[in-house]
């Protein structure tokens, strides 16, 4: 088994937390991982991405080759488009539609949505709304992971374990809030 995922977003949106949950979940399932990340822009409103490679065999390259990602998981709609050349032919684009506007030339939202809809396999959702509705307003990122849970080649149980491990040290309340977000995301995309 081999899954290549590109995580995308803007600094501060929690994509590295998604990476950590998937990372823990993969280790739980005794898989090999390599996860390369772009450090640094996180505090400065820059684009942030992470290449996450999960495999039953050792992984060679830290970077995903172009056209090989089976999933682009983005917490921001424009950022989902930035990595399209990495998407494989039958790959999925799963993104939140809530724009993060910190630049003056942010493109028109309908153009962005139209471009995403052109990709055969896509899921668009308002992660903020889903997060609020399930009572975990700060967990949009985990809602997105839940929405993508059917496309990461890991059992839902392993992802739940990952959430427990990542949020465990912050207390049971945080674990519960994020498990709710994970479930809500999954329910939405079903």
């Amino acid at each position: 088994m081999k899954t290549d995922i590109i995580l995308a977003g803007v600094g501060g949106q929690g994509i590295l937390t998604i990476a950590a949950v998937i990372g823990f979940a993969s280790l739980h399932e005794k898989l090999f991982i390599k996860q390369s990340e772009v450090h640094g822009m996180s505090q400065r409103g820059g684009a942030v991405q992470s290449h996450l490679r999960i495999s039953s065999d050792p992984v060679s390259s830290d970077l995903i080759p172009l056209g090989r990602a089976s999933l682009i998981l983005s917490v921001e709609p424009m950022e989902a488009l930035r990595y399209l050349p990495y998407l494989s032919k039958d790959g999925w684009v799963i993104t939140s539609v809530v724009p993060f506007v910190n630049i003056s030339d942010y493109p028109d939202m309908t153009m962005i949505e139209n471009s995403i809809i052109k990709i055969a396999n896509h899921i668009l959702l308002d992660a903020e709304k889903v997060a609020k509705e399930c009572g975990s307003p700060k967990s949009s990122n985990i809602v997105m992971l839940g929405a993508a849970s059917g496309h990461v080649d890991l059992s839902f149980e392993a992802l739940r374990k990952g959430v427990e491990m990542v949020f465990g040290r912050k207390g049971q309340d945080m674990v519960d809030a994020n498990l709710r977000a994970l479930d809500a995301g999954k329910t939405f995309s079903r």
Binding site: M41, L66, G67, S88, D108
Partner: protein, 572 residues
């Protein structure tokens, strides 16, 4: 055509701008060990863990992407704290390297870490340490940044090692990064020389599982047998240099025998591949079913000549893949002394001359198909990093812009730090960023040429890194420059490390000789704009040296500090 396209999309995602910083997940992943008995580490962290397990007594460094995480890992490591492993930040790379050399003189294993341009600052000590040699194992770890994700250039540190006649370990995986620290300490102590560990951004910032080795103990204090070993008077230096030259062949033999260098035979001899460091991963990525061509993986230098000759016997066309400048590629012809060979790589255009390698660039060079996904829509906007909302640098720049407007002209020499982002709109406020400390000295030179007044804009950490000596030059000639030290009380750009300047700036300026009446302190806040413009205007008109310290805590550091204070209060 396709290659150019590849380059542009690959380039499109990089807006790097001396950024570094937040890797709070590091701690999270590091805790996997407790939870799952596994270590999942960044390449940088693997080096740190390797150094701790190999019995290092101290690490010395000045922050810089992509090297910062090595030292930070040691700083937060419990074993390191409990065992007094020395790890706080140094004022700059030169002081760091020299301190690490001092620890090695005293017989203990030490490491110094820096980003590639930091080695320029430490180059004098580095090259001369090759002549003095080492006592305890001494590793110089340098993290290069091809593609300049967060740097001013993409220089390749292997050239420095080649120049200094010292061996290099260049890991191709997180596991090798860990293992090589053991090997590097061993090699350093076997030959009594410094050894370089070279990584690049991708490996430094990518995580994978690591298997650890059984730990080694620290060395006891032990002085050099020859009390003059480290005294580089010409008569001694000449002898030591001959000794260094004398061991070169042995170092080549070490490389030929090294487990990190390997010759993998192939069935198709129309091409031979020499892949250095992480480049060999990209080759393997392109041939999941097995590589038809012979491949020589090189991760330890000096280049293994025996293995390279073997390749030249088997293949008449050799492709050299290097994550960096074409070092080996340019040496190959001379080394093999054979004009019948065709050498391909960055010099003949098979690979781009600049930038980091990717699986796709390597794939193209090997004739593999790239399965490009959909195009990026034309309308996509860049999202360049910017200074944080509420940052004190912004208020300082706004005051400076207003005060300087009466003089006009581009006369603000700046430096390296978050404030360099003021070069971009909307501030458009600085005219230079060259190397740490250059703001003050360039302003001085421009003033010497008649650009009066000239302004230097420098951060607190950069000032103590390399600004102080330049300020002394300007003071000694009472140069008509205004130096603004924008003091956010931290090393902001690299993620908020403690600044060596903290609490010391006024004292340093006074001590160097800044006249009391031209040493001003202001607080950069919107409400102070008017008085601040006033202070700057007056100092700009002063026909001699002035220093304005504009001080307000970095808002990121402030947020972090308040969070920590709060959690300390709530903890029982």
């Amino acid at each position: 055509m396709r290659q150019i396209y590849l380059k542009t999309i690959v380039g499109k995602k990089n807006y790097g701008y001396f950024c570094d910083g937040q890797h709070n997940l590091g701690c999270l992943f590091n805790s996997i060990k407790e939870i799952m008995g596994q270590l999942v580490l960044l390449g940088a962290e693997a080096i740190a863990q390797g150094a701790l397990d190999a019995g290092m007594s101290g690490i010395y460094a000045y922050p810089g992407t992509p090297s910062t995480e090595i030292t930070e890992y040691v700083q937060r490591n419990k074993y390191a704290r409990d065992n007094g492993i020395r790890s706080s930040w140094s004022a700059n790379e030169k002081t760091a390297l020299e301190s690490a050399l001092g620890m090695s003189y005293a017989g203990k294993k030490s490491m110094v870490c820096m980003k590639h341009v930091g080695l320029n600052v430490a180059a004098d000590g580095f090259l001369n340490s090759a002549i003095t040699g080492a006592g305890g194992g001494f590793i110089v770890t340098v993290a290069d940044d091809p593609s300049m994700h967060s740097s001013q250039n993409e220089q390749d540190s292997r050239f420095y090692a080649d120049f200094a006649l010292l061996p290099v370990f260049e890991p191709s995986s997180q596991q090798e990064a860990y293992d090589m620290v053991f090997s590097a300490f061993t090699l350093s102590e076997k030959f009594g020389i410094p050894v370089m560990m070279r990584i690049t951004t991708r490996l430094s910032h990518s995580r994978a599982s690591i298997t650890t080795l059984s730990p080694r103990s620290q060395n006891a204090l032990k002085l050099p047998e020859d009390p003059r070993q480290f005294v580089l008077l010409p008569s001694i230096a000449r002898k030591r240099y001959k000794m260094l030259l004398g061991i070169q062949n042995q170092l080549i033999t070490e490389s030929d025998k090294s487990g990190y260098n390997s010759f993998e035979p192939g069935t198709d001899h129309s091409l031979g591949i020499i892949a250095c460091g992480i480049a060999c991963n990209y080759v393997k990525e392109n041939f999941p079913g097995g590589l038809p061509y012979p491949m020589l993986k090189i991760c330890q230098y000096p280049a293994p000549e025996e293995l390279i000759r073997k390749m030249a016997v088997e293949c008449k066309t050799i492709l050299v893949l290097e994550e960096g400048y074409p070092l080996l590629e340019s040496k190959l012809k001379g080394l093999l002394n054979n004009t019948n060979l065709t050498i391909k790589g960055r010099l003949d255009g098979t690979l781009p001359r600049d930038g980091e390698l990717t699986p796709d660039i390597v794939g193209l060079a090997l004739g593999c198909k790239v399965a490009l996904g959909p195009d990026i829509p034309e309308f996509l906007a860049n999202r360049p990093p910017s200074m944080c909302k509420g940052c004190g640098h912004i208020d300082t720049f706004l005051a400076l812009k207003e005060a300087i407007s009466e003089f006009g002209g581009d006369r603000t020499f700046s430096d390296i730090g978050c404030y360099t982002l003021a070069a971009l709109p909307p501030l458009d406020a600085v005219n230079s960023c060259v190397d740490m400390g250059a703001s003050i000295t360039m302003a001085k030179g421009a003033a010497d040429a008649g650009l009066i007044p000239a302004v230097a804009f420098i951060g607190d950490s950069t000032f103590t890194h390399s600004g102080m000596t330049g300020l002394l030059d300007a003071i000694n000639e009472d140069s008509p420059i205004t130096v603004i030290i924008s003091d956010n009380e931290t090393t902001g750009m690299t993620g908020g490390q403690t600044s060596a300047a903290f609490g010391k700036l006024e004292g340093i300026c006074r001590g160097l000789g800044v006249p009391e009446e031209h040493l001003k302190i202001i607080t950069p806040l919107k409400k102070n704009q008017e008085p601040n413009v006033d202070v700057i205007s007056r100092e700009l008109k002063h026909p001699g040296i002035s220093v304005i310290i504009s001080r307000r805590e970095c808002i990121q550091t402030a947020i972090k500090r308040k969070k920590e204070e709060k959690s300390r209060k709530t903890e029982p």
